[in-house]
């Protein structure tokens, strides 16, 4: 690597300053404020903040519902990540073949990523809603089983996982396509000469060579499922039925902005932050060893 040497002592600092400022103002300051707020109990309109130390945390960690939301978050994040990364890889591999109208297909495949999670949620709502959705109407002709996710928690969870995975699909396809195009033709041809079939080539060449991309996508999708999927949950299930799809980020929003319990909400955001930082570090520590760059 080439080392750049600045003549002025201050120039490098001046160059990184804007980026540092953005990080400070939009990440460290709000994060610090959350930590500060999490140590207080305060009435909604303010004015009488009472310092309570770790009480907000203790309260959360001693209520079973909070653990439900943590478990829901992990189920949701693993589901979304597995589905969107696996589907993204499959679709990208298919789209990487030489077919007529390739540009059109590729463009169309990227579209879902341009849809905001909340809008995706509304689209799914119109398709799947038990009262006015299109799909339950047709399903009711085929089977008498009621896919009523207003009451059946596991169906609601599947629904929000699929909806969220769909919004992430385009993003994953884009990265996998780029990764696939980076695999040299010569390697593939050599494998063909050695008599490897398409499946063998996929398993022995494509998957290992794509591992850096896959690793990156797993981390990004995981973080998205923990934070960014809020819009889908908010639009589709509102955390219901009976809290079955209440993931951590939704619960902290609900307790803070609907319930006006700012202290607990701040404590939840601190815990969520810690969980996601911990998770990302774990991924880098263990999974990255299996990645070949």
């Amino acid at each position: 690597m080439k080392r750049t040497v600045f003549r002025s002592r201050w120039l490098p600092y001046a160059l990184v300053l804007p980026q540092l400022l953005v990080t400070l103002v939009f990440f460290f300051w709000p994060a610090g404020k959350s930590v500060y707020l999490s140590l207080f109990k305060s009435p909604p309109f303010g004015g009488r903040d009472v310092f309570v130390g770790a009480e907000n945390f203790v309260q959360l960690l001693t209520t079973p519902e909070y653990y439900d939301s943590v478990i829901n978050s992990f189920v949701f994040a693993v589901g979304v990540t597995a589905l969107s990364v696996a589907a993204g890889l499959v679709v990208a591999t298919l789209a990487n073949q030489k077919v007529r109208g390739l540009v059109l297909y590729r463009t169309a495949l990227l579209w879902p990523y341009g849809i905001a999670p909340a809008v995706a949620g509304i689209i799914f709502l119109f398709i799947f809603h038990p009262a006015y959705g299109v799909l339950p109407y047709f399903l009711s002709m085929v089977t008498s089983y009621e896919f009523n996710w207003l009451l059946k928690g596991w169906i609601a969870m599947c629904l929000v996982i699929v909806a969220t995975a769909w919004t992430q699909l385009g993003y994953n396809i884009a990265f996998f396509l780029a990764g696939l195009q980076g695999i040299p033709d010569s390697v593939m041809e050599a494998a063909s000469v050695d008599g490897a079939g398409p499946l063998r080539k996929f398993a022995s060449i494509v998957v290992p060579l794509l591992s850096p991309v896959t690793f990156y996508l797993v981390v990004v999708n995981m973080v998205f499922a923990f934070f960014g999927a809020f819009g889908v949950i908010h639009a589709v299930t509102q955390g219901g039925p009976g809290g079955a799809t209440e993931i951590m980020v939704f619960k902290l929003w609900k307790d803070g902005f609907i319930g006006l319990n700012l202290g607990s909400s701040a404590a939840q955001s601190v815990i969520l932050m810690a969980v996601v930082i911990g998770l990302t570090m774990l991924q880098f520590r263990f999974a990255e060893k299996k990645v070949t760059y």
Binding site: F45, R48, H129, A131, L150
Partner: protein, 461 residues
């Protein structure tokens, strides 16, 4: 030199123009009003405000829609913390206790007294104002109030061989009616509900004169309030709903108004939802439909009035004293019988002054719109069908069938938004068969009591 003169005179003209132009706008004081009414209801708010602005020269009310009820409240809180609140904010019923204890509001009763605006408080309908009174004083101005009623599909009744003018009056009737209509193939489900906690738990307790919470439903104290919904009555009612859910006599359709399509599409023959939907249903429902009072379980339970839902206008502290005169005038304008009648006729929300209701009666409003009579009857204890006196034939004294009691004056609970969420979550668990009615309601009470305790600790009055 000449250039300089031209430039100067041009600048001066500009300054004069700028100074002169907003003269008229400056003379009027802006009154900021944040609300959460959408669609047709939002248009109705704009119309009322426009009429007020045109009726006097001094004040310009500026309405601003701030999203949902919860979002409007959160925005107002954020603005108050930034020391720049709106003059008026519309807050839903469940936010009442939070507002009362916030220390951030200027009670409407005090505002009117300070501004020497005379309002005859005795003219207001008690079940509506009672919800928002403390120590005999009205704290916020009732704006949009409604109460849950039973909607039913007259066409489905007729086709199933039932009398469309005889809606079920007891829960036993509801079940029998539902089974007949389902058996006749005229509907997939008997009935559904909107706002599950409000219609099926809160109002059912009031309607049967059962306490919802201790300390007179929270009106007497903030400390030590506990829910009472896991007692015999609550368990019986929720248990019945759960049993009916199994064979479609009842069909749960989600929270808030998400079940509306079940009735509008004709899937469910009956629907319990806010009386404020009369306007919307009049436009969107294609079949013949009617309204009836809420079903009752009969003896041994008592009979009381139903309770209201909706929102009120709260005056925020922290604005210049002179501007409150305009706020008082605007609130007085909204409370006048003419505006009340207009609001009721155009939105379906209740008129809240006795004079307005009398005027509506005399104008044969209820004779022409019998659907709009049900809610008034439920809240004031009048008979469920239009009495002869109201039909204008002969003045017969109307004897109230039920009266407002301590159990039906409303609910005043802290953290009520979360409590509703907890109750509805547990109802879902019960309807899904994950818990029995007793287990679900016990869990709801335990969680709600913790929320009430937390609220009392943070909001010491």
């Amino acid at each position: 030199m000449r250039n300089a003169v031209t430039r100067w005179s041009a600048a001066l003209t500009l300054v004069a123009a700028l100074a002169g132009m907003p003269a008229e706008a400056l003379a009027r004081t802006d009154i900021h009003f944040w609300h959460a009414m959408t669609g047709q209801l939002g248009d109705a708010v704009e119309t009322l405000v426009k009429q007020f602005n045109e009726s006097q020269p001094d004040y310009e009310v500026k309405p601003l829609r701030k999203g949902t009820y919860a979002e409007a409240l959160t925005s107002a809180i954020a603005a108050y913390r930034q020391k720049n609140p709106p003059h008026l904010v519309q807050v839903f019923d469940v936010g009442t206790q939070t507002m009362l204890l916030s220390g951030a509001v200027y009670p409407v009763f005090d505002l009117m007294r300070d501004q020497e605006v005379r309002i005859d408080w005795n003219d207001f309908i008690k079940p509506v104002t009672g919800y928002y009174m403390k120590d005999g004083k009205l704290y916020s101005m009732p704006f949009n109030s409604s109460t849950p009623i039973l909607y039913y599909n007259k066409d489905a009744f007729k086709k199933a061989g039932l009398d469309p003018e005889k809606p079920p009056r007891t829960w036993k009737d509801v079940e029998a009616t539902a089974r007949k209509i389902i058996a006749a193939g005229e509907a997939k489900c008997g009935f559904s509900t909107g706002w599950p906690s409000w219609t099926m738990v809160e109002n059912m307790h009031a309607w049967h004169d059962q306490p919802f919470a201790t300390k007179r439903n929270g009106f007497d104290a903030v400390d030590g309030v506990e829910l009472l919904i896991n007692r015999e009555f609550g368990v019986k009612h929720v248990g019945a709903l759960a049993a009916w859910q199994k064979d479609n006599v009842y069909s749960y359709g989600g929270r808030q108004g998400t079940a509306d399509p079940k009735f509008v599409n004709g899937d469910c023959a009956m629907y319990i939802q806010s009386s404020a939907l009369i306007g919307g249903f009049t436009r969107s429902v294609k079949f013949d439909w009617g309204t009836a009072e809420l079903p009752h379980w009969g003896a041994p339970y008592g009979r009381a009035t139903s309770i209201i839902g909706g929102a009120t206008l709260w005056v925020m502290k922290g604005k210049p004293a002179a501007e409150y005169k305009g706020v008082a005038q605007f609130l007085k304008y909204l409370a006048e019988p003419n505006q009340q009648m207009w609001w009721h006729v155009n939105t379906g929300y209740l008129a809240i002054s006795t004079t307005a209701v009398k005027n509506l009666e005399q104008g044969y409003h209820f004779v022409r719109n019998p659907r709009q009579y049900t809610a008034f009857a439920q809240l004031t204890g009048l008979p469920p069908t239009l009495p002869v006196a109201m039909a204008g034939k002969k003045p017969a004294p109307v004897k109230p069938e039920r009266t407002a009691t301590v159990n039906s004056q409303g609910l005043r609970l802290g953290n009520f938004v979360q409590i509703r969420d907890v109750i509805e979550g547990e109802l879902e668990n019960v309807f899904a068969g994950k818990k029995t009615a007793q287990q679900g309601l016990d869990a709801a009470v335990a969680k709600s009591n913790a929320l009430l305790k937390e609220f009392a600790a943070v909001n010491k009055p």
